[in-house]
Symmetry: C2
Subunit: 432 residues, 2 copies
């Protein structure tokens, strides 16, 4: 036995066949919805120039970048899908039609320390809508609508929480705390994790007074749009934020989206300075411990590092690998199909080979996935085992009679049932 280690690398997801089929199904559901909403595919290289990635990385991300060297070029693997999008839009600015709506479902790389639930290679499923100079607010609702539709199609009870960074910016300006905005936002981000008492302590450490703290908490508890209108914060930016939230909610209702699928949550902050308007997080209501499974928001300028054009955008990202892994481990989803094949043809002997191959080609011509086993050296029981293991629903034994009469009997391997006396057409009907 060789000593080469064939185990998958830690932090790299490697699925068994039935799991892969399930993963592909979920991926397809996401992709079909992205197309339904008018998004165009993108599939740019996994490798970028180092300088492209480092221009936008920063912080912890920068230390996680996988670098490559070959010849004179300093290259690295992308750590998200946004930076390559920004580079792409900057490079092809003159050739694109705006608003540019692209989707991409692809792998990204982060060389993190291996830890449970963290991947070093993982799929992200992103959409972004990029405007040239400006982008109407209506797209902020579009992006929420698609997230809601996807989780509905996946049979996952999800709620999108909506907030707006302008509410925070207005609030902090109103309280004369604008200089501390960044660190206050990071504190608020921890609210759900550490609780109100701890947050109050952090606020005190930041030098906030009781009246400021209580105003912030009053704000953070708002869960209805009307609440935003009642709280007394006289500030232009805050009012702009309220107007935006109202319009997003109006549009969602006009899009026929059930009101239990989205809510205002003033406590979500989404970390650092990137977002400038609407922000989103999505929770699975039965599994809050998964955290946000789909997040995003509105940003002012996609590609300022690469091009002197103002390119505002709004987007969301589903952490597909992580979501799949969590759903699988929790038993929420379960691999069922182990093959796409609908029928396995088993000729009894070499005599039925030609007839069976012919039949196979006719079944496939009807777009029905089909296989044949011509391994006459093995016992029939062993040959049929293949269908059982892969849960192929039907098995067709072909012997002298079938060849003579063109009449078939199917065995349903799921139910054990035998369906007899089928002509070719009737057999096809059972298979589709």
């Amino acid at each position: 036995m060789s000593k080469i280690n064939t185990k998958p690398l830690s932090g790299f997801m490697e699925l068994k066949p039935a799991e892969q089929i399930l993963f592909d199904k979920i991926k397809k559901t996401i992709e079909e919805n992205y197309k339904l909403f008018g998004f165009i595919p993108m599939d740019n290289p996994l490798i970028e120039r180092k300088e492209v990635l480092f221009a936008k990385a920063g912080g912890e991300t920068e230390t996680q970048i996988y670098e490559l060297e070959k010849g004179d070029e300093k290259l690295a693997l992308r750590f998200d899908l946004t930076v390559p999008l920004a580079r792409y839009v900057a490079d092809k600015y003159g050739e694109l039609t705006f608003p540019f709506k692209r989707y991409q479902i692809a792998k990204v790389y982060r060389g993190e320390r291996p830890q449970a639930g963290r991947f070093r290679e993982f799929y992200q499923a992103d959409i972004d809508i990029i405007g040239n100079e400006n982008l109407p607010l209506s797209y902020d609702a579009e992006v929420i609508a698609i997230a809601i539709k996807i989780f509905q199609d996946l049979n996952l009870d999800a709620t999108v929480r909506i907030n707006n960074r302008k509410l925070f910016n207005g609030l902090f300006e109103f309280l004369n705390l604008s200089e501390k905005a960044e660190s206050l936002m990071q504190i608020i981000d921890k609210l759900e994790k550490v609780g109100e008492e701890k947050i109050r302590e952090y606020f005190l450490d930041e030098g906030l007074g009781e009246s400021e703290i209580s105003k912030i908490f009053e704000f953070l508890k708002i869960r209805k749009v009307e609440g935003l209108e009642k709280i007394k914060i006289e500030n232009g930016i805050f009012e702009e934020g309220v107007k935006e939230v109202k319009e997003v909610f109006e549009n969602l209702k006009a899009l026929n989206i059930s009101e239990e699928k989205f809510l205002l949550d003033t406590s979500i902050a989404r970390g650092l300075g990137y977002y400038t308007g609407t922000i989103y997080e999505t929770r699975l209501n039965k599994y809050p411990e998964f955290g946000s499974v789909c997040s995003g928001g509105r940003y002012e300028n996609l590609a300022s590092e690469y091009i002197d054009k103002k390119l505002p955008g709004v987007g969301i990202s589903i952490g597909l690998s992580r979501l799949f892994d969590q759903l699988l481990k929790k038993g929420v989803i379960e691999p069922k199909e182990a093959s796409y094949t609908k029928i396995l043809i088993l000729p009894l002997s070499e005599n039925e080979k030609e007839f069976s191959l012919n039949l196979l080609s006719k079944i496939r011509a009807e777009k029905i996935p089909a296989e044949i086993d011509l391994d006459f050296d093995r016992k029939m029981q062993k040959r049929a085992k293949y269908a059982e293991k892969l849960k192929i629903p039907f098995v067709l034994f072909v012997g002298e009679d079938e060849v003579k009469d063109n009449i078939f009997s199917l065995k349903n391997f799921n139910t054990g049932e035998k369906i007899e006396n089928l002509d070719f057409r009737k057999m096809l009907e059972l298979l589709v």
Copy 2:
């Protein structure tokens, strides 16, 4: 303007939106056929341990591997899809059902010097059928059938050339040239490129006599199975090869495959020692200059470097990125669709917004890709331009009358035609 270079790296394909839609369509055609023939998806990591890759690389390939380093691990990017398959099968041997039929359409990496038509990141579209201990010859025809079906579906006139390594091995044994087999095979590989005269010189350089050379050329000109039976080569291995070729051809006929789609070509050798039986190359008949667009063959043992099990297999690989690039540059294929969207809704003013969003949600509920533009600050002509540029077939203007009467007029942007007086159902019929 920033100095960061946003151009795609040389050797890395980056498509414009309409090209990407076309690429995805071709990729989907390949994938649907792989499923139709009973193959299961695989999607393992792009990154492997260095030792896994180097155990099977060798030669030029080894120098092309992109290496990565992060922490203690020595990692690298895969250079093909076969090595990761071998590692996967070795690792999950006990959990797989054999014959294991997997497909994978994914990117691989080779750090070549940039040159026309060569990619450093490219898609391969592979299938392999792996047996446990043995694998019936019938699968060799299956693999050809699928290649033929794919090129038919892509409207590309292709012919699969079939040969068998046992014919070469038998011929060389018969001529007492077995020791020179490897180098003779490499000479034969060059036949099409350099011509018969040059090959004759190479043979002479190898020390071959006139009678040996003329026997080899007699063999290399055979294009019919009957020819194999007429040539006088009394050798067991050769006869085995003839038997195999005959069976493969028999099976292809039984699978209803038109005889002009495949032929025996004794001059294809497929390089080095990996293949042991049937070998294939596929040419596009109108574009022989593309070389082989789909190649593969039968091998004795997939994963001997990783596991002490005999795992014979047969497979093919389509060089998808290269094929796409060649077809595009030659003008054989042309990007037509610039969007998946079927209809763009254009409300005339804010007054029709709610109604239009509602309509949009109903159209999408019918699985018809649809978009809306709510950018009332721009002139209508500019808003409609989006549909024109993306070749969205229909535009629906929504004004007071539409809201009042629920009767719609569609403008077909391809033909300029206006279709009037449609109720919602009739409008849907036009869109599907």
